[in-house]
């Protein structure tokens, strides 16, 4: 069952049967919005980028984005940059895989962000979504819809953080502006 999350909602990443999640994927998909013009069907390319920032006690320790696809410890992997979106027509165009059991002990929060590298606001993007999937069985845990979002170019999607012995996810859905995750750092810090 998919939870359509609302801002600030927290879900525990425990499975229904009580077992802890071991591996999750943050998937991002989108299509470019059609544009009116001389050639009516021409679309403008939209490049959204998914990033994950690993924090230890509010200090950024490592980051996984299109220029650093694997965290040094190997626990977080980006499947590669997609510059145009819309490939799967509803599938994930970019994905970040997190092996929760291998996340180093001092990392207590992982924040996922989405940026519009080409600078379009989310108003100009169609069918954009971001979702969290249990990678072991493909079950969708939560989903955000991004399009029609308004005049901003980035969103701080969600954070996965340690809670007791396991992990918990909190949906953030906080709009922001910036081209890459670096621009978002000031906006991320209040959510830690």
């Amino acid at each position: 069952m998919t939870v359509n999350m609302t801002k600030g909602q927290a879900i525990s990443l425990q499975k229904n049967d009580g077992g802890a999640l071991t591996s999750v994927r943050m998937g991002l998909g989108w299509q470019a919005a059609p544009r009116r013009g001389l050639f009516g069907t021409r679309t403008r390319e939209v490049d959204l980028d998914a990033s994950a920032v690993l924090f230890a006690d509010k200090q950024p320790v490592d980051v996984v984005f299109f220029r650093h696809l694997v965290s040094d410890d190997g626990s977080v992997r980006h499947t590669g940059d997609n510059l145009v979106g819309g490939v799967g027509q509803g599938g994930d165009d970019e994905a970040i895989l997190v092996d929760l059991q291998r996340v180093p002990v001092h990392i207590d929060q992982i924040v996922f962000t989405v940026n519009s590298f080409t600078g379009q606001t989310f108003q100009e993007v169609q069918n954009a979504f971001c979702r969290l999937v249990d990678e072991t069985n493909g079950q969708e845990l939560s989903r955000f819809t991004l399009d029609g979002g308004g005049q901003y170019t980035a969103q701080i999607m969600a954070k996965v953080h340690r809670a007791g012995a396991g992990w918990q996810m909190t949906a953030l859905g906080n709009p922001a502006n910036g081209r890459t995750f670096q621009d978002l750092m000031p906006a991320i810090l209040p959510h830690l």
Partner: protein, 650 residues
């Protein structure tokens, strides 16, 4: 809030202890110079660069990298230093971009020690420049400020340093480029892309659209040589082989079968809560050999990453403890009674807890890898196996060239007894330099002992190469101009596996080099002209290895030029170089020989931590693969090779 600076803009700095972060997407060099109040660099001692990374109050990286962190303590700078210039430059003399116009705009940020960004600057509008002053930190009425400079130099570091008033600018630029190239030459070549592998869940799908200009993936430790492209087989002169009847052969030249490979052995299902039992060959590949190769590289990556996780956690624990202890020290309440002691004890306990947890995670991974190594090592074929492995006793001369060769062992200080085989692809893509010098090693062995050890390990490497190739497919020539290696080369000479007796004297050097140079010329011409069958019938089409001892003894200028030519052009046509040399011996040639050393993979005759992995860049300790003391395995194997060479049989 970060100040995003534009060119020329300045911004006050809140403190004197700072970090400067650089990210460029491609490996670049980062350095810094100090200026006095008249904006002059007072001498080479005021320049921090990869060859001399530390100055008072300043530290830069030792090698080119896509990301840098420079530590700066403005309060600790030498007297008279009023300004710090942060420089970026592209590495010279290696494959890669030569101007900043062809790389993504570099990004620099000044941050506090806690990582909060103070100011950042993206250096745009660069084109033909190969070096750029990114930022300057300067003093104004006892306060420090940062200015975004972005001044590029098409003439590279030399022009930049000259512009800052340094008289020895050109010499220093050469020194810096040299240090960077040495750093690049140190790195282990990246493995071929590893296909997604069920056994290693973390492998991710690679099949995404071609990356655009801003999506360059991280360069693996900046090694230009990717082992995925094997050199053309001299046997067929690089031309596609055609069957006799004139029809076109559509089979893949290096893939024997199009039938799906037999499934890899799978680990038996693990008991709940227990890690799976490791199995040798538990990786993807078309043959057991390829699966073992991929498995070994997988273990290498896993060890690099688990060590990275551990080191990062320990660093974090230490910096947190230091901060907490500082806070106790500055808090006046801590002077009352035992409050301060209790707070200090709590900080230390938090540090201890985190380090213990990190160590537990590391130990869990190390135990798993050690168990894997225990089953993988005995399963390795001779070319991958340690000399102590029993497969060498049952050695038979192979019919096919193996895909890789073990050049030694690698280990990390966290677990020195966990050895990762260092496998390099065959045919060799780079020659080898067995460093017999004392520079760079902290070994206690004296100079003569080191030279002998270097010769012995050269013989062991050569023996392994000879044993890996089918009879007649690999020929070894030896140049030993002064005859100092007679006793070390004896096993090769006695077994009759050399092309001829070691060449001595200046005449022997000239003769051997001329023959090999001619061979390179001929094969190159034939390959370029597409007339492989026009080669003389008596030309040996196998791979050639030239072992050079005592360089540059017996070499005149012409011979040195020929050697450099062989190092550059040889690997592509199957002529490889193995230098047993101390770089100091050839110092009279100056920078002339730098490209030669750079073209070779440096290995040492004694354990030495000079190799970097392609993922995280840890310093790994390399150990040469030597037969166990007293073992006859080397002479046994060489005898087999010699017999096969004489009889042409196995």
């Amino acid at each position: 809030m970060t100040a995003e600076l534009v060119r020329g803009q300045n911004h006050p700095l809140p403190g004197t202890r700072l970090e400067i972060r650089v990210s460029a997407g491609k490996p670049i060099v980062a350095g810094a110079t100090l200026c006095d109040e008249r904006r002059k660099v007072r001498g080479t001692a005021w320049v921090a660069h990869p060859g001399a990374p530390t100055l008072p109050g300043l530290e830069v990286s030792r090698q080119a990298a896509a990301d840098h962190r420079l530590a700066v303590d403005l309060g600790a700078l030498p007297d008279g230093a009023h300004q710090v210039n942060v420089l970026l430059a592209l590495p010279v003399g290696v494959a890669g971009p030569v101007t900043f116009g062809s790389v993504a705009a570099p990004f620099v940020a000044v941050t506090g020690l806690d990582g909060t960004e103070i100011a950042s600057y993206t250096i745009t509008d660069l084109s033909a420049e190969s070096a750029v002053v990114a930022l300057e930190l300067y003093r104004r009425q006892d306060a420090w400020k940062v200015r975004a400079v972005g001044q590029g130099y098409a003439g590279g570091l030399a022009d930049m340093l000259a512009d800052q008033g340094l008289p020895q600018a050109r010499e220093l630029a050469t020194t810096i480029n040299d240090a960077v190239a040495r750093g690049l030459a140190r790195s282990v070549a990246a493995p071929p892309p590893r296909p997604a592998d069920e056994a290693r869940v973390r492998a991710a799908a690679q099949g995404h659209p071609a990356p655009g200009p801003q999506s360059a993936p991280p360069e693996p430790a900046a090694d230009p040589a990717q082992p995925v492209t094997p050199a053309p087989q001299p046997g067929d002169g690089g031309a596609p082989q055609q069957p006799g009847d004139g029809s076109v052969n559509y089979t893949h030249p290096r893939r024997q079968t199009s039938a799906p490979p037999p499934p890899p052995p799978t680990a038996p299902p693990a008991a709940p809560g227990q890690p799976a039992q490791p199995v040798a060959g538990d990786a993807t590949g078309w043959s057991l050999e390829e699966r073992l190769y991929n498995q070994v590289w997988g273990m290498f990556e896993d060890l690099a990453r688990t060590a990275a996780a551990y080191r990062s956690a320990v660093d974090f624990a230490e910096s947190r403890m230091e901060q907490e202890l500082d806070k106790v020290l500055s808090d006046p309440r801590s002077r009352i009674g035992g409050t301060g002691d209790a707070a200090r004890a709590a900080a230390r306990a938090r540090h201890g807890d985190l380090v213990d947890q990190a160590r537990a995670a590391l130990d869990r991974d190390l135990a798993q890898l050690a168990a894997e190594a225990e089953v993988v090592e005995p399963a390795l074929p001779p070319a991958f196996a340690d000399w102590s492995s029993p497969v060498w006793h049952a050695y038979r001369v192979p019919m096919e060239i193996p895909m890789a060769l073990r050049l030694g062992n690698l280990h990390l200080p966290e677990r020195p007894d966990l050895h990762i085989p260092m496998l390099v692809r065959l045919p060799l893509e780079r020659g080898l330099w067995i460093d017999s010098g004392r520079s760079g090693t902290d070994s206690l062995a004296d100079a003569d002992q080191l030279r002998r050890l270097a010769l012995d390990s050269a013989v062991a490497h050569a023996a392994r190469l000879l044993a890996a190739y089918p009879p007649g497919a690999f020929t070894v020539h030896v140049i030993d101009a002064a005859g100092t290696g007679v006793s070390a080369f004896a096993p090769l000479v006695d077994a009759g596996v050399l092309a001829g007796p070691p060449a001595t004297g200046a005449a022997g050097v000239t003769d051997t080099l001329t023959r090999l140079t001619q061979r390179v010329d001929l094969v190159q011409m034939a390959v370029r002209g597409g007339v492989a069958d026009a080669l003389p019938a008596d030309l040996d089409t196998g791979e050639q290895l030239l072992v050079v001892n005592d360089f540059p003894h017996g070499f005149d200028d012409r011979a040195v030029t020929q050697l450099r030519y062989l190092a550059d052009e040889g690997p592509a046509v199957g002529v490889h170089l193995m230098m047993v040399a101390d770089r100091e011996d050839a110092s009279e040639y100056g920078p002339l020989l730098d490209p030669l050393w750079r073209a070779l993979l440096r290995v040492t005759p004694v354990p030495d931590d000079h190799l970097a992995d392609p993922w995280v860049g840890h310093a790994w300790t390399y150990e040469p693969p030597m037969p166990p003391p007293g073992s006859q395995v080397l002479s046994h194997v060489l005898r087999r090779v010699g017999e096969a060479r004489r009889t042409g049989s196995r």
